[in-house]
Symmetry: D3
Subunit: 149 residues, 6 copies
Amino acid sequence: MNDLLHKPRKVYVSRKIEFNAAHRLFNPHWSDNENVGIYGKCSNKYGHGHNYLVDITISGIVDRDTGFLFDLKELKSILEEEIINRFDHKHLNHDIPELQDCVPTTEVLAVLIWDILEQRLRNINQRELALHEVKIYETGKNAVRYLGE
Amino acid sequence: MNDLLHKPRKVYVSRKIEFNAAHRLFNPHWSDNENVGIYGKCSNKYGHGHNYLVDITISGIVDRDTGFLFDLKELKSILEEEIINRFDHKHLNHDIPELQDCVPTTEVLAVLIWDILEQRLRNINQRELALHEVKIYETGKNAVRYLGE
Amino acid sequence: MNDLLHKPRKVYVSRKIEFNAAHRLFNPHWSDNENVGIYGKCSNKYGHGHNYLVDITISGIVDRDTGFLFDLKELKSILEEEIINRFDHKHLNHDIPELQDCVPTTEVLAVLIWDILEQRLRNINQRELALHEVKIYETGKNAVRYLGE
Amino acid sequence: MNDLLHKPRKVYVSRKIEFNAAHRLFNPHWSDNENVGIYGKCSNKYGHGHNYLVDITISGIVDRDTGFLFDLKELKSILEEEIINRFDHKHLNHDIPELQDCVPTTEVLAVLIWDILEQRLRNINQRELALHEVKIYETGKNAVRYLGE
Amino acid sequence: MNDLLHKPRKVYVSRKIEFNAAHRLFNPHWSDNENVGIYGKCSNKYGHGHNYLVDITISGIVDRDTGFLFDLKELKSILEEEIINRFDHKHLNHDIPELQDCVPTTEVLAVLIWDILEQRLRNINQRELALHEVKIYETGKNAVRYLGE
Amino acid sequence: MNDLLHKPRKVYVSRKIEFNAAHRLFNPHWSDNENVGIYGKCSNKYGHGHNYLVDITISGIVDRDTGFLFDLKELKSILEEEIINRFDHKHLNHDIPELQDCVPTTEVLAVLIWDILEQRLRNINQRELALHEVKIYETGKNAVRYLGE
């Protein structure tokens, strides 16, 4: 429709969502003492919790007609279905089947969310749309990024 | 020492601390259905969690010699002893004796932290120092303030 | 239910919501030159816009059974109905009947939102619940508070 | 002047600016119904608005004498001239000639700001200075990045 | 002009400004050892520094014609003249005459800024305008408020 | 231990720390006038200061047993030893031996912190751990990134 989009333009669009969950860092193959040695108070028996802030980035060519990379309402709906419904107000060690054999660190959570979204977005693939990055802020000070590498 | 403090000046000094904890909103006097009716997904069995950001405000007259209301290093040490050591990386329903007969809402937590700090600061009382406010941000959107009323 | 709430505890609970709107500062009783003199570029013909962040505070006594001042899900639903539905993605000068005889400054908007919420909360009054404050951040630097005075 | 800059060091320097503008997502080649179908309430007739936060990143080799990549005062002045003067307190659909044939989405705005700044910085090119990224936060939750690809 | 302002409405308007300054906590009436005992590393010889974020709040009745409490452009200009010009890029111990007999703590700085602004605003007094609060964030964690008490 | 980590996953882990320091932009090889011409008020004699926020990113393969890239407690301890102890509450021009022949701009500081951490992390190298990025926010508006290029 306009000159600005006459040549293809690759953009990165990010959307933040937040969920509140509990977790416990505990490897069942180790003794309690070993767990405390590695995880410290993060291995306390009943777990603790976080406001997990997840920043999802997708990339691709801007659509000439809509001026969008991807409809944000649709992205928001996918993220609510795949992320909020799965993780919000849950205890990651007890309530998430995909994490049953994992220590639910932020690193592992970023990898899991990537795998879930990458498969979902692949199926509706159009306009060179691709998942680019999953970034999780566990607190205001700590963050983990996974880019599918 | 200086003209600015020649007359008494009442200031309010705030210090933020953060702890990570799990909780479950559940009243044991009610049925599971009643709990779900009131608390929704906040009553999920194993709990969820938050990064609780606590903003403590004390008030009083600025000391003419130090220019301080109260030594922030000492306040920081009191907050670590009374707040961080008690609540950080804990499950509020299981690990906090003072909350055993409570539903650990943010309102209740603000009242409890007030009671703990008000008693602690009363004992070292000097220079008209007083606890003024406990404010807890449960998420970036929700906050509760208690001023001892 | 618990000792902490044995005596009445008055708390202040805040909830933030955001809406995106356009507005133009323009007094139709004045000439264009007078409007530019008072409002500068804020009086540009087609308007400009903001992400309005509104922080609503209610006050009252914590309920002994629920540990809540007021159910946040219900507060969220009231704010969506009264604030988001009314103002989000609107042009304040064209789309809001209540502002037709106003210059839609942040001061006026805070007063209007107070009047709307105060009447709504009065009707469902219980547990000494009252609207305490409407605070609007027009940008990260400017904010207006109205407390019903 | 110093050992640290004895070998060339490539850095990325970012500067944030903010402008307040209105926009309407509306494609004049489509019917009103089609516009509502794609853009929803973003296509409301008079538009809505945002506090657009723009984070500009330039890259290049640190100058051995000044210790700067580029004088921030000069960068600030360029950004005020090219961005603030052009977009602040404007309605993107009505007041910006470069956007007359566009739907003024955040994606399109990022591309336009890149084109404007890339040409401006190219003309004063020195010290391998280059525009690296234009990132726009439309709200606290949504952002678009463009890197000239 | 409009019904909303038919009765007087008292609002509180806040404006944030930031300045970057160095300071050293050191009382010349004490020995070096006494200073280290009270101020710790804050008494290091050459000083350290902060991004001081100052949040100024004024109060009064909204003007019926403009819809403003006070023209923000005028407030901004006063704050630049009185605060930015005086403190920005200065060493509080060396460069500020008003602080020569003070330990430049955040408490003292809040009192000084209050005294400066209260006198300035008193002279242009109209519409029941009054200085309500000076709040300084020394870091993201520490803040001091002074209300003229 | 789990399927998610069956194949190697490269993640980026970030940790933020903050220190408060004074600095003066001044090149001793130039006259005072030349310094004012280049650095403006940043060259004021006694310096000014900042809350420097440093965001350190490391990269590597997630450990299958711990679910960590690297123990955050260990990273925190390294950052306190190498960054906080060296820079916090210091005057960069007077107190930091490594900066004696430098103009302590944010660019130079980012390069220095990279050099310090890259050497430190190289010595404890395991699991393909590498320093990825040093990002310093001098204010909320200005930031510098260095990636070792």
